[in-house]
């Protein structure tokens, strides 16, 4: 039993990190139907910047604030200078642009902050919490708690505020949204800033557990993408459930089957789910009009 619990905790911890990455994908997808493959880089930026500012002698709260604010600005710059000029292009073209952007961000950080791996102390110590014979790190609770908060906040934003509804409207039909007075350019700018900040928050929270380096965004981005597809594109709840599911299945596979096949399992999962539920678990049931 304690063994099962330990696998579960491990899965939830890792899964929460995937979920945070997945939420960022969801936000931009909702606003523009674009899968932003630079999402992983925002996570990396969050962690690396906190480390950098701590090194520079800034106190933790200031470092965290800056590490979230700067990626948000970077997100807006990306939208302004790469996505907006290509607004008329296909979604596929935009996706390829985001891949290019991710390479640029990774390269800049590699040159500026080096190739080393970094970490900083956990927010509330490293003493594991013992539950039913299994252990959980306090930092995992931070990750889970903030993820939950973010999900609730996003839900509120999208379903209860005008700004959130404007973003959804833009994603459904940009022209119609514009006709009823939504500033669609503003919507895109905001959604990039938000998802960048969200990714950065993830990076800030995760780094004490996962460590960080200039290339950590690749893996997180990829697994986050798997989580999004499993959970259903565009659904905040789906992103979280997808992330946790991928994490838990990975941990269980490593524990009960074989650690050698652990990384193959999420991809098998994606195939199975897409076969039965082509739009993911919580994906919107839409019919394409031809």
């Amino acid at each position: 039993m304690s063994q099962f619990l330990q696998f579960l905790f491990s899965g939830i911890t890792v899964g929460a990190t995937y979920a945070l990455a997945a939420l960022g994908f969801t936000l931009i997808y909702n606003a523009s139907n674009v899968i932003n493959f630079a999402q992983g880089e925002f996570i990396m930026l969050g962690g690396m910047l906190v480390f950098f500012f701590l090194q520079a002698g800034l106190p933790m709260p200031v470092a965290i604030f800056l590490a979230i604010a700067i990626p948000a600005i970077v997100g807006m710059l990306i939208e302004k200078f790469t996505i907006e000029p290509a607004r008329e292009a296909d979604v596929v073209t935009l996706i390829i642009i985001t891949i290019g952007v991710s390479l640029v961000i990774r390269g800049v950080i590699q040159v500026w902050l080096g190739k080393g791996t970094h970490s900083y102390p956990a927010f509330s110590g490293n003493d594991p919490i013992l539950i039913g014979g299994a252990t959980l790190l306090p930092q995992s609770l931070w990750v889970l708690g903030i993820t939950a908060l973010v999900v609730v906040a996003l839900w509120y934003f999208f379903s209860r505020t005008l700004a959130g509804k404007a973003i959804l409207a833009t994603s459904c039909n940009p022209l119609a949204a514009q006709l009823v007075g939504v500033n669609t350019q503003w919507v895109l700018l905001v959604s990039f800033a938000l998802s960048a900040a969200l990714g950065a928050i993830g990076g800030v929270l995760l780094t004490p557990i996962t460590l960080t380096s200039y290339d950590v965004g690749i893996m997180l981005g990829l697994k986050g993408f798997v989580a999004v597809v499993v959970g259903g594109l565009g659904s905040g709840l789906g992103a979280v459930v997808g992330g946790l599911l991928v994490g838990i299945i990975e941990a269980m596979a490593a524990g009960y089957i074989s650690s050698a096949y652990k990384d193959a399992v999420p991809f098998i999962l994606i195939l199975v789910i897409l076969f039965f539920l082509p739009r993911g678990i919580f994906g919107a049931k839409v019919t394409e009009r031809v």
Binding site: Q6, F7, P121, N126, P128, T135, L137, T210, S213, A254
Partner: protein
């Protein structure tokens, strides 16, 4: 790069014409190199390149080799073995280098081996696996310790402490996979029993499931982790999180200051085999390696303001072996240089004492590894 070498050629030509010396005598000796300066193996290739650049410069300031200047021709394979092959070809056919020092990873090295064998080009690899020098290839040498030696050294220390039943945890990188193979093959011969063998990805962020399984395996007396990079630090953190108290061993692939820093208090008490370079300041004053490793460490620190790693040390050894061999051969003739490298005896490098022979193209024995333990956040030599 191109421009500089063009200028150099022009300058050389001008000197040759002006002084009516033989142009050949002033030609630089070309040291070719293919390194993984970017990509996943960047933490290996980056210090290697910096070391080569630093020492080529130093040697040139001191008058060069055989009265000629050294010229470093290097390419970055981006940790991609296929690219290494293409660059290897370019070094041999276009740049016409005199010797190749490099091949950061085992994959890159092995992709260049057929080329150098065919072109009869002396080649000193900086990569770890045994396959590079076993079976012996006429033109191929290497400087780093092998994974098998690491396992032997660890087993030796375990047996001293009466630990014979162990669990192996290896990462899925080329380094870890080869280490796993060697460890599993060596264990029965060394009288060790492997009760469990688990793997993890080098970029994994949580390894508690594997460690939980090991923890719940009855009879395990010690855990041996074979991997490189940051994964090792995650293992340490999870090890402590799960409250496992068994003696913990790592292989040499994680040996760096960064490893201790990232692991924090979780690294306390773990042991690993490593080159003397890591504990340069702590070596006994009469240790033959002391002047070499402290000298390299100081030169590297002064120039780049960052900590040395054993990987840069491999490049230092590779370059020095090449230079020494050329001096002894008195020429850059490839066959003679090759013979001279093979005849290297008693060279003291950062990796240990090198005694090459026609059957041993690495030339290191177990004494090249020091057993270290992490004490109070720093390395300490054991016995």
């Amino acid at each position: 790069m191109r421009k500089i070498s063009l200028l150099k050629t022009l300058a050389t030509a001008a000197v040759a014409i002006g002084a009516s010396f033989s142009a050949l005598a002033a030609d630089p000796i070309k040291i070719g190199s293919v390194l993984s300066v970017t990509g996943p193996a960047a933490f290996l290739g980056d210090p290697e390149l910096k070391t080569l650049q630093l020492y080529v410069e130093n040697i040139n300031k001191a008058g060069g080799v055989l009265g000629r200047q050294l010229q470093l021709v290097h390419y970055d394979d981006g940790s991609d073995a296929a690219k290494a092959n293409a660059f290897g070809k370019r070094l041999i056919e276009d740049d016409k280098v005199d010797i190749i020092v490099g091949g950061t990873t085992t994959g890159s090295t092995m992709s260049m081996v057929p080329l150098v064998e065919k072109a009869e080009m002396p080649f000193i690899s900086l990569a770890g696996a045994v396959v590079i020098v076993e079976p012996v290839k006429k033109w191929v040498f290497k400087t780093p310790h092998t994974d098998r030696m690491a396992a032997e050294k660890v087993f030796e220390d375990m047996k001293k402490r009466g630990l014979t039943k162990i669990a192996l945890l290896s990462d899925t990188s080329g380094f870890g996979a080869s280490g796993k193979k060697e460890t599993e093959a060596l264990a029965p011969k060394a009288g060790m029993t492997l009760l469990a063998s688990e793997t993890y990805g080098p970029k994994d962020t949580d390894i508690t499931p594997q460690l939980t399984k090991i923890k719940n395996t009855a009879g395990v007396q010690a855990v041996f982790v074979f991997g490189f990079g940051q994964g090792g630090a995650v293992v340490n953190k999870n090890y402590k999180q799960l409250g496992i108290t068994l003696p913990l061993y790592h292989a040499h692939g994680v040996a760096s200051e960064e490893f201790i820093k990232l692991s924090g208090p979780a690294a306390e008490g773990l042991r690993l085999p490593a080159a003397a370079l890591l504990v340069a300041e702590k070596l006994a004053a009469n240790d033959p390696q002391k002047p070499v490793v402290t000298g390299y460490r100081k030169a590297y620190n002064d120039r780049y303001k960052e900590d040395v790693s054993t990987f840069g040390g491999h490049a230092y050894d590779g370059l020095m072996l090449a230079v020494e061999a050329m001096k002894r051969a008195g020429t850059t003739d490839k066959a003679k240089v090759r013979d001279a490298i093979e005849a290297t005896k008693g060279y003291i490098g950062t990796g240990g004492k090198v005694n090459m022979s026609p059957t041993d193209h690495m030339g290191l024995d177990l004494s090249a590894f020091r057993m270290l333990e992490v004490k109070n956040g720093d390395w300490a030599l054991i016995n």
